[in-house]
Amino acid sequence: MTRTALSALLSHWRRNPIQLFTLLAGLALATALWSGVQAVNAEARASYDAAANTVSEAAFDQLVMADGGPIPQATYVSLRRGGWLVSPVIEGSVGDTRLVGIDPLTASGGIGPVDLQGRADIGAFLSTRGQVFGTEEALAPFAQVAVDPVIRPEVAPGVAYTDIGVAQRILGRAGEVDLLVVALVQPIRQADLAILAPDLIRRPAQAGSDVAQLTDSFHLNLTAFGLLSFAVGIFIVNGAIGLAFEQRRPVVRTLRALGMPLGRLMILIGAELMAMALVAGIIGVAMGYVIAAALLPGVAATLNGLYGADVAGTLQLRPSWWLSGMAIALGGTAIAAAGALWQLARMPLLAAAQPRAMAMAAGRRAQVQGGLAIGLLGLAAILAFNADGLIAGFAFLGSLLVGGALALPLILSNVLAFGAARSHSVLGQWFWADTRQQLPGLSLALMALLLAMAANVGVSTMVSSFRLTFVGFLDQRLASELYVTTNDAIQTQQLIDRITPEVDVILPIQSSQVPIGDYPTEVFGSRDHATYRDNWTFVQALADPWDQVAAGEAILINEQLFRRAGLALGDVVDVSGTSLTIAGIYGDYGNPIGQAVISEDLFAGLYPQIRPNRFGLRIPQGRVDPVRRILTDEVGIPAGNIINQAGIKAFSMDVFDRTFVVTTALNVLTLAVAGFAILMSLLTLATMRIPQLAPAWAVGVTRRQLGWLEVARAILLAALTAVVALPLGLLLAWALLAVVNVAAFGWALPMHLFPTDYARLGLFALVAAAIAALWPAIRLARTPPADLLKVFSNER
């Protein structure tokens, strides 16, 4: 019996291979999309980690020689023996690569190559010959050096790491180190540093350069969109399963009438679906792999992260990755099938097979659905203004999405009714009415299209906004071509004397920790220069903020201080006894504390004891390398004290460009999936629609006209869906940037709009819908008149 029943059930798929294909393809694509977004995430994470390493290298306090010279190795040993947990670092250049020598036995976790503490063979690292870690480009200059290269794509570009002993040998500097990194946790007692090593000065860790929060925010948003992509796929699967169930009602009825117990039937159908989910899941994970391999240039790094490539470089699919992909496929199928199975369970034994039951039931369902949509959107509206936690933020996101999708048929139906009322020609009225009548059968596909477009609008807005913000932030913070740190006043003077003729301007960077409105704040004294005027963007600002700051009357504060202290633009704050007006509020991403900017002169008056030892150098195009050489060779500044912002910026842009390639590809893919769903729905509906088209044909509308009307209808529905999708997508992006992000990190990412992107997207959606409608339309145009005539002879 079971076997017979199974073969009866499976015969449906044999007779409807396209439906089987839709189901499998929808599920596989959903899983692949999910995998693909995970791939982007992993890629971005690896790259940002490397970027963050480059930017925040000075996250620990450091000890350096007061005169900027090398530290004798003996000083390191006597510090250790005095109870100071410090770790030696030596730096130098090999070709264009900055070679950094570290001691892995004493290094704090946060310095050095990303994974040295983990998997690396430290024995080989410590050996006499040694190993050097870096990207392929960074290791190129080591071809002629007696050391074993180890390519690690996650190491920041232009830097190579090796053991300190090996570095001393390569650099020809035996017995010397450049700086000592001070561990965060020190023993309960230590010898006095001033007695132990009077020549050393302690350079505090540089705060505020940590981009980790910014990247965490990016990952959170991308993950949310990964789920969204999956939701699109689930809608498609839901549609396919719903159709299959509908069409198999006669089979089910017959089987049950023959004595098949309902429970066993349900189990059979459930098993059938799970088997399909397994197949589709495997295909989906494999497609995710292909997407990752095809789209990401840093394949080694990414696949390493995603699929757990082993040390030798052969690929292994990581079990957890498979599991998450399969869980998503199985869970998605279960969600999509739950409703259909529920209906099946409640179906009366001898309920008539109703070819149009779906459309009929849809009428009743539409009311429930409409009520649900209004409820969810209402909830979303309440949450939008009151959500103050991560969970509430995601609840907002979820209710907005589902509510928007459920509301779509209702909105379309009303628009179409409105169109019908305004139409005066007979054909026109028939067109509107017929479109509306067709809506229930297409609504799932249209919802998928809606979610796909909303997701695309959201992804584009989010990624582009993030890019603008991040690049703006880097421009603002790293506007100068080179950043230099001097060790003392003498070296500062040498720097100014020697470098002034070589550069456009030297911008001192000086700060003092003072409370503003009871909040600890780092106040910077900034020189009035175009570098700042041109590059800094404000969240809010009065007119001419820099003029007011330069006049010593105003202050600029960061968003964190603004939010935490509840300040407003134009407020007057007290800074070390001076009253200043807030002239501008700037974004300061990833900085945990308050920050403010005042003029250089005012700063010097308020804090005369502070002498700047960090400088930004504005250098004409092409002069950066010569100036860098002068700094190291003539002024004697160690290479590690010079940061080349162009390198960091180019690296970040490269990361973004890679991310863009992948998100664009995913966008196209999502749209293709939605278009595919429309195609499948139209094909399924086509046969059912003959009875509705036949009268139109009978009264004189040609088949060709009917075909064109089909295409026009699909485009109309897609256009209407696009109109709904745009605000939904923008709301999504806003929810992520301004609600979820604030809940998670305490600052909002500014949202930028990209109308041309949206227009292009809308066009794509119309094209996708038109292409999807083309084949059914052609088939319709070629329907033999005999088939149309049969409608009138076959009384149904």
């Binding site: 190795q73 003996a74 390191y76 040993v77 250790r80 023996r81 005095g82 109870g83 947990l85 001691d103 036995l105 004493t106 063979d121 430290i122 024995g123 080989a124 410590l126 050996s127 006499t128 040694g130 053991d163 300190i164 002993g165 090996v166 001393q168 035996a174 946790v185 020190q186 023993p187 309960i188 007692r189 230590q190 010898a191």
Partner: protein
């Protein structure tokens, strides 16, 4: 002393070195490539043998102490310096193949403070010299002429400075200092100074505490002391109130059996070595610690000396959160003999 733990610690260093990576724990029993191997009937030469033996793969200076504060509170401390050679040679500079690892701990009835250091010997950051004797890593040091020694260590939340005065002779375990560790003959050189009187200061977060007590210093070196089927180690150093002392250990095997060894020490320092089987230790109670669940109350017997005692941990959570975790802490002894001592347990998962 706690060979197993020390071996495991050294194993980690070896693993780090990538030399025995593929061999795992069993690698300890295998041929020592190029390293010297302990031979029976050793002749020791002091003070030279107080210093390092770079021809042997592993070596340690291992001190434990039972102490009492002014209010009668019991304390325990540990000071350990391990040497692990990547190759059988000394040398200077960063690439010299001698690595050093330090463990220090203070145990109170309620807390257990642990810290660890690791360094290379070739640059002078860690090492040992016999005459005048000194063993050190960073600011930790054990210095003196073995009649008196001073010892110091610091961690993020504790430190100590103590003076040790020998009140008895050196003790040689096994056959005149040749200590067999398995039925198949793996062995080490092993001697102790269990007669140190201790006087010093513990620095804890609440302030300094003057302490007095007794300490036990172990010296051991080898190149392949364990056999492949040995999984863990329970080691006891007990000082009885009548002045006699006992060192005993069980090396647990994969088949459930164990290999035991013990040394009985009279108050005058005369020793009797007991072969496998004479010494017995059976768990009575286990405790969940910050790491594994381990036996913290034992029945310990040496029938030949009429010893049948209960050994219980002063602080059951004396878990060493070092790169190779293990349990090491002070114990109280009751039963046929009363006293105190130290217990070390390794290989518990």
């Amino acid at each position: 002393m706690s060979v197993n733990n020390r071996i495991m610690v050294c194993l980690v260093v070896c693993l780090i070195a990538g030399q025995t990576a593929a061999q795992g724990f069993a690698g300890l029993g295998m041929d020592a490539e190029g390293f010297a191997i302990p031979q029976p009937d050793p002749t020791f030469d002091f003070p030279t043998d107080h210093g390092p033996h770079p021809d042997y793969r592993i070596e340690w200076w291992y001190l434990t102490a039972n102490m009492t504060g002014p209010d009668g509170t019991d304390y325990g401390l540990q000071w350990t310096l391990f040497r692990s050679a990547l190759a059988p040679q000394a040398g200077e500079g960063w690439s010299a193949p001698q690595l050093w690892l330090g463990h220090a701990a203070v145990t109170t009835p309620t807390d257990h403070y642990v810290t660890e250091r690791i360094a290379r010997g070739g640059i002078g950051q860690a090492g040992a010299v016999p005459d005048p004797f000194s063993a050190w890593i960073d600011d930790w040091a054990l210095t003196g002429d073995w009649q008196t020694l001073s010892m110091t260590a610091t961690g993020p939340d504790f430190g100590y400075d103590v003076d040790l005065t020998a009140q008895g002779p050196l003790i040689f375990h096994g056959d005149g200092g040749y200590s067999v560790k398995s039925a198949s003959g793996q062995a080490s050189y092993y001697y102790s100074q269990p007669f140190f009187a201790l006087d010093g200061t513990l620095s804890l977060q609440d302030g300094d505490i003057p302490v007095t007590g007794q300490a036990w210093l172990d010296r051991e070196w080898s190149s392949q002391p364990l056999s492949a089927d040995q999984t863990g180690w329970d080691w006891f150093s007990l000082s009885f109130d009548d002045g006699s002392k006992m060192m005993g250990f069980l090396l647990r095997q994969t088949d459930g059996a164990s290999y035991s060894s013990a040394t009985w020490i009279t108050p005058e320092g005369q020793t009797t070595a007991y072969p496998n089987g004479a010494f017995a230790a059976d768990p009575l109670e286990t405790s969940a610690t910050s790491g594994a669940t381990v036996p913290t109350t034992w029945r310990v017997q040496l029938p030949d000396r009429g010893v049948d005692v209960t050994v219980s941990a002063i602080n059951t959570d004396a878990w060493m959160t070092t790169s190779v975790p293990y349990w090491e802490g002070p114990v109280r002894v009751t039963g046929s003999h009363a006293g105190r001592g130290y217990l070390e347990m390794t290989g518990y998962e």
